[in-house]
Symmetry: C2
């Protein structure tokens, strides 16, 4: 059996993801799709709407065969490290292809851009540095530098979010000498950052979340954009925990953490650079919500996402030291769920997989894995007791979720 990989957040799983999944199966002719999915916290430095367990169920019901977790150390990072972690896991799981959605949609242009930028690296890097010195954020500086160095035959637009990610997937494949074949499909119907519904059946996850969090929001308002299974899991989660997760709910913990930390402690947090600790301390006392706090600390130099990730690392107490020796290759694979076919695939290839596959958290020890555990603790910390304790226990003792696709039932 051969497998293809997808790199996802499924926050939540929607019709666009379903199209991506079907296209992946069609283009690769594979019967086993492996999703490497961010855990409880996402690349933009924010909590997932519902837990990774609930999102794993959505994925399995929608036809993903295996769901593994992208460790916190990669999931809550810039595009480059995010891509490295995800690609290394799909390679380790012996996938033949990885298929990603992009605005551009032509894989050869990603390959070309990656090769081109490798050659142009010295000039490109200098131009990035110059733009940063002028006060631009890193993503903006990269985009400016790319436009300055690129020749007319480089067709990729690296200002689009999914093109950037795709470019880093392809680059990671090259850098890691991975045998993965990259494929891309054009994202249709909605753009990544869209906040309003623009298509009859496809909406961005952003707009779906905005609807759920809006005051007048009703879960029925997103019926057109999500599979019924997603809706059921969202309702189940809400009924069990009485909430969806958002940064605002974590703001009291962030504020408490900041107000009890010394400047030296803050400076030791991952991504706390160039005296940002002073800026955070200056504004936290008077800030009454996460959004007003972010508004106050935002500068031209740092993107919202970059600062949001910093806040996340503060919340999870992730130190520079914790990620000092972070490899571009993930040292383990955490299995979150699988269906019968997924299990069959793993049985076939498991002797050839060179990384430890974690089925139960309690039985694995690794400094990097401790960050995932801490992230799970933090994710649960806003839940009232006894739900908080239950969610924490689940993290240690839950075996991978098993889905019987024929019977359409979880085991």
């Amino acid at each position: 059996m051969k497998a293809a990989g997808v790199i996802v957040e499924y926050n939540p799983f929607h019709n666009g993801h379903y199209v991506h999944l079907q296209e992946t199966k069609k283009q690769t002719g594979t019967h086993c799709v492996i999703a490497v999915m961010s855990g409880n916290f996402l690349q933009r430095g924010e909590p997932a709407l519902v837990s990774k367990w609930s999102r794993t169920k959505m994925a399995l019901e929608a036809g993903v065969d295996i769901v593994v977790e992208l460790p916190y150390a990669y999931a809550s990072q810039n595009a480059e490290m995010f891509a490295n972690g995800a690609i290394s896991i799909l390679s380790a799981l012996l996938c033949e292809e990885v298929c990603f959605g992009s605005e551009h949609g032509e894989i050869k242009d990603f390959q070309h851009a990656a090769q081109f930028l490798k050659q142009a690296a010295p000039t490109y890097n200098e131009k990035v540095k110059n733009a940063i010195d002028k006060g631009y954020s890193y993503p903006k500086a990269s985009s400016i530098a790319f436009n300055e160095v690129k020749t007319t035959n480089v067709k990729l637009d690296l200002s689009k979010p999914n093109n950037i990610l795709g470019y880093h997937y392809v680059k990671a494949i090259h850098d890691q000498h991975s045998s993965l074949t990259p494929l891309t499909i054009t994202r249709t119907g909605a753009q990544y950052h869209d906040e309003e519904f623009t298509s009859p059946s496809i909406a961005s996850a952003t707009s779906i979340r905005q609807t759920l969090f809006s005051k007048s929001g009703n879960i029925n308002d997103i019926d057109n954009y999500i599979p019924v299974s997603t809706k059921n899991h969202l309702i189940n989660y809400y009924n069990q925990y009485n909430r969806f997760h958002s940064w605002e709910a974590y703001f009291p913990l962030l504020k408490y953490k900041l107000l009890t930390s010394s400047l030296a402690e803050l400076e030791s947090i991952y991504e706390c650079e160039e005296g940002l600790e002073y800026r955070l301390m200056k504004y936290i006392k008077e800030s009454t919500s996460f959004i007003t706090f972010m508004g106050k600390i935002k500068t031209k130099r740092y993107t919202w996402t970059r600062l949001q990730r910093l806040c996340l690392h503060i919340l999870t107490n992730t130190k520079k030291d914790d990620l000092l020796q972070l490899s571009t290759l993930s040292p383990y694979i955490r299995l979150l769920g699988m269906n019968t076919r997924g299990q069959q695939y793993l049985n076939e290839v498991k002797k050839k997989i060179q990384l430890p596959i974690i089925s139960k958290a309690a039985s694995f020890e690794d400094p990097l894995f401790m960050l995932d555990i801490t992230a799970a603790h933090v994710y649960a910390s806003i839940l009232p007791e006894p739900l908080c304790s239950t969610a924490i226990k689940q993290e240690y003792s839950t075996p991978p979720i098993r889905f019987d696709e024929d019977a359409r039932k979880f085991k």
Copy 2:
């Protein structure tokens, strides 16, 4: 004008405190009583029912002339350090007497016990150590050792909580070569740890708090035991903040803090000794309330109070390093409130007072004072916004509370 001192927590101010205050005035013939009061967190390692500002108002309305704060570094400590901090502040404020309540009620026996134990120190200390080696808690070991070394002419019973405190006040006066004269009055009507009302007008603060926190508790149930002014301030606080403060409200923060700390970080916390960090980490995940957590971590070796103080230091992130060089003498005096007479006294003596008197937090910097500020941050952290931000702002910008005793009005 001469002044006498009292050492208090006023949690909340009740009729027993009023008797103590009147007796102090009577016995000392003073017109100015200075109360050195614990701030937002108390000696038993728990949050005060209401903020230090509200408790200062209770004290002023009841006839205290000056209220100053016992810094966190002394207030949340064992009896010895608590006494040292309090006595040093009253000495610095040039009080002539200090008057404390005790079960024993005879000051000469405190003096005698202090002198006796000074001579018997080598034998006594060895016996304390032996008892600790057998697994007893420090207070229990001290009491055992004292009973073993004391001769028949030593009459003080050092197993009673207020006798212990009183003994340490007298010892601190000796050790600091203070010119304070100690006086004691017998506590009547209620013992410190009483949980039920046993007298028609005097109840322990413990029983008053228990009533307020009990499910059927009504503020009118404590009418007999508190002045009307206390009742009004309790009601005002409750109306403003919609709560009284208890450990249970801080438990989610404590749990979050523990679950995001490394063992090394916990070990660096003040009073985290002998591997206690492992014990805390073992039980926090499954604990759904502060009281169940305490029940699980409690051992014969450590008293409830000792462990509660450790939890408080974890909550406030107070490190061993922060208190490494703690002097027995407080380096500053924070003024919380005064009446006209108190102000007159301060004007008269201020040139002779050798410590800085802090009237506004924003204008003073000292590493030890930072602990008071952090404690205020933590105290506010359970309040919903914008109350949390308001309470924090108050800590920085509130000038001392002024009370006009003739007009019976706060200015």
